[in-house]
Symmetry: C2
Subunit: 146 residues, 2 copies
DNA sequence: ATGATAATGATAATAATTATCATTATGGGA
DNA sequence: TCCCATAATGATAATTATTATCATTATCAT
């Protein structure tokens, strides 16, 4: 993999974002400063980085791809209401993997744990009105603000 | 939610499939016997069932939505090579959730655990040639068969 | 410096899912 | 049992995110 100005900019932009942006969100951000960089380049490189293990790709509740520059072992909390992804810097023992292998003949090499619930903001905003759909939620939030 | 002939057929078709099909896969299957049922109806109802908690929606490695008629507590193994999803009927204690809540101020209500690795078939077929990309894999498999 | 080739960017293409809307089916009440 | 408000359906248009194409440019080993 060759170096490029674009790769540097994309990696730096991701590092500046602790909110696990999608490729498109990151593109929008980069575009402000570097309008010369195309969408394809952002998508292409983020996926390439993830493949090489330089960054992590995480899948949101709605199937959208988010990227995480932190490689340290940690897990995520996804708000069922707004879809935002937060870090949970917990280190979970490998014994779960060993235990899981008793239930299958597949070779397990890693595990993903995602916690779900309501983030503080959403809990406050419409106290406990549990919603799965992001769009529905957006409407709810907008409505409650007006 | 009203009953309908279509809802029955969709639920029954999902029950018959233990492989966690996508909405489209299920539509293709249903279409053979019931050409009168439209795609929109299948997508619509599967999502509605998942919202109501009648079935489960699980997100594949590539962000695709799969559906699972089994509500019993169990986890999944996704093959990094072929993308197939297998059940792991293990029951994991709720203490992980309590532990995770120490690292966040979010209210955690559930957790998703997905194990990854190579399924037997993929391990045998190209012994240990670890590939993330499904399409790349498809090519590999095709190539090794000819 | 040079050349093979990897990377880029504009844009076309794809694929999965959702919205629209006219038509049909459901089920509670008279 | 029939009525009817309205939920559900199905054909298809629209949307959205992502990927493929390809001519041009940049990188880096020699």
């Amino acid at each position: 993999m060759r170096n490029s100005k674009q790769k540097d900019i994309i990696l730096r932009a991701l590092d500046e974002h602790k909110i696990h942006p999608t490729a498109d969100e990151l593109y929008q951000y980069i575009h402000k400063e570097h309008a010369e960089i195309g969408v394809a380049t952002v998508y292409r490189n983020l996926n390439k980085f993830a493949e090489k293990g330089i960054i992590r790709k995480i899948v949101g509740l709605d199937g959208s791809s988010h990227f995480d520059s932190c490689l340290e072992p940690h897990y995520h909390f996804i708000c069922s209401c707004c879809g935002k992804i937060y870090d949970i810097p917990m280190n979970i023992g490998k014994d779960l993997i060993a235990k899981a292998e008793e239930f299958t003949d597949c070779k397990i090499t890693s595990m993903d744990i995602t916690f779900r619930g309501l983030c503080r903001k959403c809990e406050d905003e419409h106290n406990g009105n549990f919603v799965f759909d992001e769009k529905e939620t957006e409407m709810l939030l907008t409505a409650s603000m007006s």
